[in-house]
């Protein structure tokens, strides 16, 4: 095969991103002299339309049968250049990219050495591409039903969107009712509309939809299969265990609140009038803005960043607390105009639509704002006899530099959001990963915010990171749109890169069985052979490396291809060092 290779080599300047460090013309000249290279060109932007057309034209006119593009990371533009090959009728897998931007020009500043390295990387790609084989994608069907985990605002939104688009949905909620954390709130910032109203409308639509199956007091216990073809086992307390065929799973399991007893000096759990934001919401919903023993508070102190933005607990911002605290100031002042409200904050983060305006309006309500140092939360103690308040909140006030005792009959702690303690179980069951804080990880923070590393499993709402209701709803609708796009196709294309087990070489040792992060490997006890379900495989290579008898091959990552690449990268560098 390699003897009749006609390789086209293209090196991109990426404007000045590559060209300012790497001498592209020089790389071109050296690569042009390699066996099998039929043409070698440099161009300003290979990913541009003229760049792609150059490849397509050369394939047609010069009869190229392999293409190497030395440019950016394949994560960035491999799909682009594959399309250029396809446009000329060449199998897209006959492309190899050499990453001379992220792995060369961006990280080196010596032009001579960087150009030499770019030559080596390009040489490796040329050596490798000679052993590329045309690969065909595989098609699989896509079950129309979707499993939604969590009946909070995000899960409800996903479920209603899908059901109203006439697709079957199973909405699984652990608790006995829908609504999640939003169901525990009174009014919402910044427009002060009622959380209850927002939810009631969604729940009514959910309950009215014939396509939507609401499973309360239920949990997902096992998920098998792959995108478009999952089998979900859902257990209902006191009810049946169901085996559901679903094409996609949307995880909307939300968050839990920070346990305020962990910050001892705040006095939560010790003083009954130190309460959390959720406890205040409850009193507001019941219309009883009172202290523990039923008195009307004259002084209310609101403490921000409880558990958030504090390296000892959670380094991140919980995003909704500042706005909610401002909302409390507003609600308390509306109900009890004579009350004195103090707002103890670290930084006032009132970003987002309507946020700054809400801050301005609520700060005109004669709330007293006192700033404390991040990591130095206020200290709550019982008031002295003779004081006209129940508690004293001692603040090291940053702007004045003074230690101030703030009077309080009620102290409200703005407890932050944290990943659910059992989030790891959910992550393992559906095959997604968590970051250091336990939030579920999306495929790409900007470009694929609701997809995950497991195809067909999506995340939406606060299980991904703290966010407010509009953002949760936006993510939920995005996830629903992703699902609908696949359901509309009715089938999925599975990447042609996957691991294969040669049954004539498998020894049934079972070394690979437990290693697959995507549970793509099954063992047949009668035949005593393992096999890979190609649709589930992500071509990570774990089993390939582990297979002791060399029975597993990763398509597009064969030993031959990788050894050629190594030989190529070393071919010129060994002559340099000697």
């Amino acid at each position: 095969m390699k003897d009749d290779c006609r390789i086209g080599f293209y090196i991109c300047n990426c404007g000045t991103n590559i060209a300012k460090v790497v001498d592209a013309e020089q790389v071109c000249e050296r690569i042009a002299g390699l066996p099998g290279v039929a043409c070698a060109r440099a161009y300003k932007y290979m990913c541009s339309n003229p760049g792609q057309e150059m490849i397509t034209r050369d394939i047609r006119e010069r009869g190229l049968n392999r293409v190497v593009v030395a440019a950016c990371s394949p994560r960035m533009h491999e799909p682009t250049f594959r399309k250029a090959l396809e446009a000329a009728g060449l199998n897209p897998y006959l492309l190899e990219m050499a990453n001379i931007r992220e792995q060369c020009s961006w990280v080196h500043d010596d032009p001579r050495a960087a150009t030499a390295k770019a030559c080596d990387l390009a040489h490796a790609a040329v050596r490798r591409v000679r052993y590329h084989q045309p690969l065909e994608k595989v098609e699989a069907s896509y079950a129309p039903a979707t499993l939604v985990l969590g009946g909070g605002i995000a899960g409800l939104t996903v479920a209603v969107e899908l059901a109203e688009a006439s697709q079957p949905v199973y909405l699984v909620e652990r608790e006995g009712k829908l609504g999640g954390n939003v169901g525990r709130a009174d009014l919402t910032a910044p427009y002060l509309d009622s959380a209850r109203d927002i939810l009631a409308e969604k729940i009514a639509r959910a309950e009215a939809s014939p396509k939507l199956d609401i499973l309360l007091r239920s949990e997902l216990v096992e998920l098998r299969g792959f995108v478009g073809n999952f089998r979900a086992t859902v257990r209902t307390t006191g009810g049946p265990t169901r085996d559901l065929a679903v094409g996609a799973v949307v995880v909307c399991t939300g968050y839990q609140e920070f346990d305020a007893t962990r910050i001892e000096r705040l006095g939560y759990g010790r003083f009954p009038d130190v309460i959390t934001s959720f406890e205040l919401e409850r009193r507001l919903r019941m219309g009883r803005l009172e202290t523990d023993d039923g008195r009307i508070p004259r002084y209310v102190s609101i403490v921000h960043c409880v558990g958030s933005r504090n390296p000892r607990y959670h380094p991140y911002c919980s995003r909704v607390c500042c706005m909610t605290a401002l909302k409390y100031g507003h609600e308390i002042k509306s109900a009890l105009p004579a009350a004195m409200v103090t707002d103890l904050y670290v930084d006032m983060l009132s970003f987002g639509k309507g946020g700054e305006d809400f801050y301005r309006r609520t700060s005109e309500l004669k709330t007293m704002f006192l700033m404390y140092e991040k990591g130095d939360p206020p200290r709550v103690r019982a008031a002295e006899p003779g004081d006209d308040c129940g508690l004293l909140v001692q603040v090291n006030e940053r702007l004045s530099g003074e230690v101030i005792d703030v009077p309080a009959d009620l102290v409200v702690l703005m407890v932050g959001m944290e990943a659910r303690a059992d989030g790891g179980d959910v992550a393992r069951t559906v095959g997604i990963s968590q970051d250091r804080q336990g939030w579920f990880i999306e495929s790409h923070p900007k470009l694929a915010p609701v997809s995950t590393a497991t195809e067909g499993v999506y995340i939406a709402g606060c299980c991904q990171s703290p966010k407010d209701i509009p953002d949760s709803v936006a993510q939920a609708r995005a996830a629903a749109a992703m699902v609908l796009a696949h359901v509309a196709q009715g089938k999925i294309e599975v990447d042609a890169r996957f691991a294969e087990i040669d049954p004539d070489r498998c020894s049934g040792c079972r070394m690979c069985n437990e290693l697959c992060p995507y549970t793509a490997i099954t063992f047949d006890p009668d035949e005593r052979r393992s096999s890979v379900q190609s649709a589930l495989c992500k071509a990570c290579g774990t089993c390939v490396a582990a297979c002791p008898s060399g029975a597993i091959t990763a398509r597009h990552f064969t030993d031959k291809q990788i050894f050629e690449q190594i030989e190529g990268v070393l071919a010129w560098s060994s002559s340099r060092s000697s």
């Binding site: 049934g508 079972r510 070394m511 582990a546």
Partner: protein, 322 residues
């Protein structure tokens, strides 16, 4: 072929003698061999000189069976000689096949080996600092001994090889199978490892295989083993999964872990690298310190991984020995 007796030579290079014994171990079959073949050269069993072989016509021998690694100029000379004189050259046993136990010497340099053997050996008399030399003039002329190479080589590093017979030593059944194949003229594809499976020892091992997750590695004497269950799953370091089957699972069937003497399976080019990947894959921990401590329970990982095949490894020895 029946009208003419087979012309056969056997030779040992850097070897322990076990491979020759394995040929003798075929019991009464050796008499059939003697009936079917002229044993033209076999240092362990038949008197003969290199000159006798030199005197043969090229290709006069039907079969040359070479066991042992290539360690010195003499080994290479005889390998080249037999290659010239024989129609078929068989690399017999682990040393000729992959370098074998002598190949472990590639973990050290020649100087280090000489230092250890001739200068720092605890059994030396004090003041005895004699190092071997390859040439020595004496009254009657110059004496020569073969020159020790810097590295140990497998047979096909120095001459083309037609067939391989794996094992340390090869199982008697396989010895018979090879000789019968040559006698009958029914030969497998050139370059193949004769009489073996394409798969690993696990394929023929009857022990029960379950989940492979290991928290503690043991040497065989450190633990009471479950005779029914996969040894590796019990933490006993067994090379069966990285080793070509064909031996009849002799070691695991006797309660001992496979040591890997049949070399890698058909799909693998570096048995030791595969051994290390495979062992690393089954360590049941995600904590780097714990992983290091679990792997630390395997003494001499390199020696275990490449016990029979260091000269055949992708990185075939230490930098000092290269």
């Amino acid at each position: 072929m029946a009208d003419r007796k087979l012309q056969v030579a056997l030779y040992w290079g850097a070897a322990c003698g076990g491979c020759d014994v394995a040929v003798l171990d075929t019991d009464a079959f050796i008499l059939d061999l003697a009936a079917a073949a002229d044993l033209r050269f076999w240092p362990i069993a038949v008197d003969g000189k290199y000159d006798d072989v030199e005197a043969m016509a090229d290709g006069e021998l039907d079969l040359a069976i070479f066991n042992g690694a290539v360690r010195n100029t003499e080994n290479q000379h005889v390998a080249e000689l037999l290659r010239r004189k024989a129609k078929l050259l068989v690399a017999f046993g682990s040393c000729a096949h992959l370098g074998g136990i002598p190949g472990l010497a590639n973990a050290a340099s020649r100087d280090e080996i000489f230092h250890r053997a001739y200068l720092a050996n605890p059994s030396l008399e004090e003041g005895n600092v004699v190092l071997p030399v390859t040439e020595k003039k004496v009254a009657s002329g110059t004496l020569e001994i073969p020159k020790l190479y810097r590295r140990v080589h497998k047979l096909d590093d120095v001459v083309p090889v037609d067939y391989y017979v794996a094992g340390c030593p090869p199982a008697p059944e396989q010895v018979k199978a090879v000789l019968k194949a040559v006698i009958s003229g029914k030969l497998p594809a050139r370059g193949s490892v004769v009489g073996c499976s394409e798969r690993a020892v696990c394929d023929d091992c009857k022990r029960r295989k379950e989940e492979k997750k290991v928290k503690r590695f043991y040497r065989p004497w450190q633990v009471l083993q479950d005779p029914e269950r996969c040894l590796l799953e019990q933490g006993i370091v067994c090379a069966g999964s990285v080793t070509r089957s064909g031996c009849g699972v002799r070691c695991p069937n006797s309660g001992m872990p496979c040591r890997g003497c049949y070399g890698p399976t058909a799909g693998v080019r570096d048995q030791g690298a595969k051994f290390i990947s495979a062992i690393a894959s089954i360590v049941d921990s995600r904590d780097p310190d714990e992983i290091a401590s679990i792997l630390g329970q395997i003494p001499d990982v390199m020696g275990y991984a490449y016990r029979f095949g260091l000269p055949a490894a992708t990185i075939p020895g230490t930098a000092r020995s290269l």
